[in-house]
């Protein structure tokens, strides 16, 4: 399976990119994905600060990512 990852605002700064595709063999919880995917390591020590959405709906780190999902990592919202 593979999923599309989006990085917004400071998350894009930490990642050095705004989006990417990540492949992995099976559906996997976001917290596992963060642990096991080297390229996501810049986000690991920001875990308590991160907001995560899966398919444009807020999710927590227990949420499982499936094939074709859109996963967004975001800092706290500051619009207004």
């Amino acid at each position: 399976m593979s999923a599309k990852f989006l990085f917004f605002a400071q998350c894009a700064d930490w990642m050095g990119r705004k989006d990417m595709e990540i492949s992995c063999p099976n559906p996997i919880k976001i917290k596992e994905l963060l642990k096991k995917t080297e390229i996501l390591s810049p986000l690991v020590n920001k875990k308590d600060f991160l907001k995560v959405a899966v398919n444009q709906t807020m999710a927590d780190l227990e949420k499982e990512v499936c094939d074709g999902d859109e996963v967004a990592f975001m800092p706290p919202f500051s619009g207004g």
Binding site: A9, Q56, A72, M74, P75, F77, S78, G79, G80
Partner: protein, 146 residues
């Protein structure tokens, strides 16, 4: 000639949500929600202040997760319109917004004052909490675009 406008036809909510790089206008927002059935309109405009953390800035760059932002705004509008029998518009400017200009604009039309005030305030608070938009960059005075 009594024209009874339907209250918030669902198909029309899209045109009352606006994420744009263009300047926002209060008069245009008013025209999105006005109706001869409503006697009270309350608008909230968030504007870019000239000081951020004590430092003078000349503007802010806003960024949005646009598709999700629109979905979240729709949920908030649906909740507020059901609760107060009002008609709402939510707009946010993206990209570079200069100091003093409007970045965020919520408009609420209702039959009477209380529901227009309450629905506007609720929508402002909810949007700030739930809509994925960020102040991505503060542009400091003197140093130019950093």
């Amino acid at each position: 000639m009594e024209m009874k406008l339907p209250l918030c036809p669902l198909s029309a909510v899209d045109e009352r949500i606006n994420l744009t790089e263009q300047a926002l206008s209060l008069d245009s927002a008013f025209s999105l929600i006005r109706s001869p059935d409503y006697g009270a309109v309350v608008l909230f405009a968030g504007t870019v202040r000239s000081l951020e953390d004590g430092k003078p800035i000349h503007g802010i760059i806003y960024e949005a997760y646009t598709e999700m932002a629109v979905k979240e705004i729709k949920k908030i509008i649906a909740a507020a319109e059901a609760r107060w029998q009002v008609k709402l518009s939510v707009q946010h400017r993206l990209g570079y917004v200069p100091t003093g200009e409007i970045s965020f604009l919520v408009s609420a039309a209702g039959k009477h004052r209380p529901e227009a005030f309450e629905a506007c305030r609720f929508t402002v608070d909810e949007a700030k909490e739930k809509v994925p938009i960020w102040k991505a960059q503060y542009l400091q005075e003197k140093q130019g675009v950093e």
